[in-house]
Subunit: 378 residues, 2 copies
């Protein structure tokens, strides 16, 4: 960039900032339509402001709006939820950047609009989105957010696993979380801030313990049974029936007709039902997914030393996601994974969060904001 | 459709057909620009006409133009190639329908234009395209073709495996073919026309013996080594170096930045090099791919009974594709697959075709056309 252009940009930025000061509520940072609701509101809605916590998964995205009350940390759980909005997939690796950005912006606008707030009332935003794997992902999303919000809003971007952990630990980043929904990931933090992750690299990169992984293997088993490479399985009739297809050949067309990972992962309950009915192929797929999920947790716990030097120290393990929560009659994947992990680490404390990960993201926003605030005024 | 509308459509069709008879060269069946070259040619180029054979794969598409000479079958090999044109992927499951159709039309136009022919000179077209898995796929592509060519042109649509088989058997549909390129498939025919296939269901449905499958497993091994779930492997430094990336985290972004399967499959030589250098992880991936490929052939041969009742009968096995053709120093995947198969079926006759599959497709067009012709005038 030439120095002239840089100066021009600087001036534009100053102008923009002036505008924010004059009338933050009226300014459109990006998509006009999304934020139109703000036009009908007063110049400032004052108060202590609000927080946004967003949990962006491969299947759906949830945004929670909470009041920014300077509570003590122990009272965090009593913060009321002012609004909750839901949208589709916001993993840019799955739906592309444009769609992911649009979804994130829309769901935040919906949450604010639902509780009669607007962007000028926002104090902090924590976006916990699947697909955030490296600093450049984080920087890109921070860029989107800074186009949307006035510059005084505190912005935090993390992998969605971090919000899931926070939902089980009241916003404290310590211990390990295992998510197994459409995708799967294990993510952990030590008390002094070291972090590590395992799996969570999506379907191409061997996410076999995930809902997608389980379902893709079930579909593969149907194809293999059909063409003579594998044993026959109850999965064939069950999956074809649940999809309304009449032959295994049609499965191929069905599979590639829509690249959405969530659509494939939605077949997990069919696999569990077949396993419960005694189908060996389905049973083997679930057993392997249990091993995969347990090995992800094991890798994170060992790298961070969460289990202590003797391997017996206590640490929280937060378990989240449709694959782990399905509490079936005989086949409970979550329970099997926990059995497996407690053999390695007797000190493990399993936590099934009572709140959803988006609330965890809002708690994180509160925690991060309070820390920054305390630092600034210490 | 109402009877009036049907009549109208009939009339339109008649008009179209008249137009074809009057001036086939000038008529634009679809995309004007693609066929503009025909405008500069005479009204009819007469002669015995030409054939088009097209091999549409997931990596590239090749179209061959040959003269339609009523040779005897044994002289087929001496049919000259009038033109050869190349384009990108035409598997609709990989790039979508619109792109696949455009590629197919363009490559046929290029082949005709190169040898100074036009659509009115075409007698028969054999399109052998990967992703043709069921009658509806075939019907859809026949629909595209009938928009492009005058109605007297004979049109044949098959899976690309059929052209590969024909390239090794002089257009005769008997025996088995194994393709392992970006994707993999085994396809076979008995002399009395029964057919069977195995694998070839793409990356989501467990095409682990394919180039894509080998490379995806290598990428997965890098991620597993990085996050502590798997053993360390030479694949990490080799793959990162060949992609110009600096960390395993960056691999995730690289993997999902572009959904093309061929881009991933292009890493196979790196895996082979690592296996040759003694890397155990790479070696295991290749050994498993050999087993996968051999099991596909086994399934087809057994279902069709190509090996006879005693299991020792002779049958041709045509082997095609980058994964099988790579003749490395120590690791020759094709040779290992053949060793494996000849243990099951001592009568197997391996054939490495001397011509490319697109020539096989042209030979098939010739064979199909001659059969139809003989039937009509018998």
């Amino acid at each position: 960039m030439t120095p002239e252009k840089e100066k021009e940009k600087e001036k534009e930025k100053e102008k923009e900032e002036d505008q924010v000061v004059l009338d933050a509520g009226m300014k459109r940072y990006r998509n006009g339509e999304i934020w139109e609701f703000e036009d009908d509101m007063g110049v400032s809605d004052g108060g202590t402001g609000v927080l946004l916590g967003l949990d962006g998964g491969t299947t759906s995205t949830v945004c929670i709006c909470m009041p920014m009350v300077p509570f003590s940390h122990s009272q965090l759980q009593s913060l009321p939820i002012l609004a909750r909005a839901v949208a589709g997939c916001s993993n840019h690796n799955s739906v592309g950047e444009i769609a992911a950005r649009e979804t994130i912006e829309q769901v935040m606008a919906d949450a604010l609009s639902k509780c009669g707030s607007k962007r000028s009332a926002v104090r902090a935003v924590c976006l916990a989105v699947s697909g955030v794997n490296q600093p450049t992902d984080q920087q890109r999303i921070l860029g989107w957010l800074s186009d949307i919000f006035p510059s005084h809003v505190r912005l935090y971007v993390r992998n969605d696993a971090v919000a899931a952990l926070a939902s089980g630990t009241m916003g404290k980043l310590h211990g390990c979380v295992l998510i197994a929904g459409t995708g799967s990931i294990a993510y952990g933090f030590t008390e002094d801030g070291k972090e590590a992750r395992a799996a969570g690299a999506g379907p191409v990169l061997g996410d076999w313990g995930s809902g997608y992984g389980i379902a893709a293997q079930a579909l593969t088993a149907v194809v293999r049974a059909h063409d003579g490479r594998g044993p026959s399985t109850m999965l064939t009739s069950s999956i074809l029936q649940s999809l309304g297809l009449s032959s295994a050949e049609e499965l191929i067309g069905w599979t590639y007709a829509d690249p959405s990972w969530a659509r494939i992962a939605a077949l997990v309950p069919v696999v569990v039902t077949c396993a419960e009915a005694g189908d060996e192929v389905a049973n083997k797929i679930l057993l392997e997914s249990v091993q995969e999920l347990a090995s992800s947790v094991k890798a994170v716990v060992e790298r961070l030393g969460l289990c202590g030097q003797d391997g017996n120290s206590a640490f929280p393990l937060v378990m989240v996601g449709g694959v782990l929560e399905a509490n079936r009659r005989r086949w409970d994947i979550g329970k099997e994974v926990m059995n497996c992990i407690s053999k390695y680490f007797p000190g493990v404390i399993p936590i099934r969060p009572k709140v959803e990960p988006a609330v965890g993201a809002a708690w994180l926003a509160w925690n991060f904001f309070m820390k920054d605030y305390q630092k600034a005024y210490a």
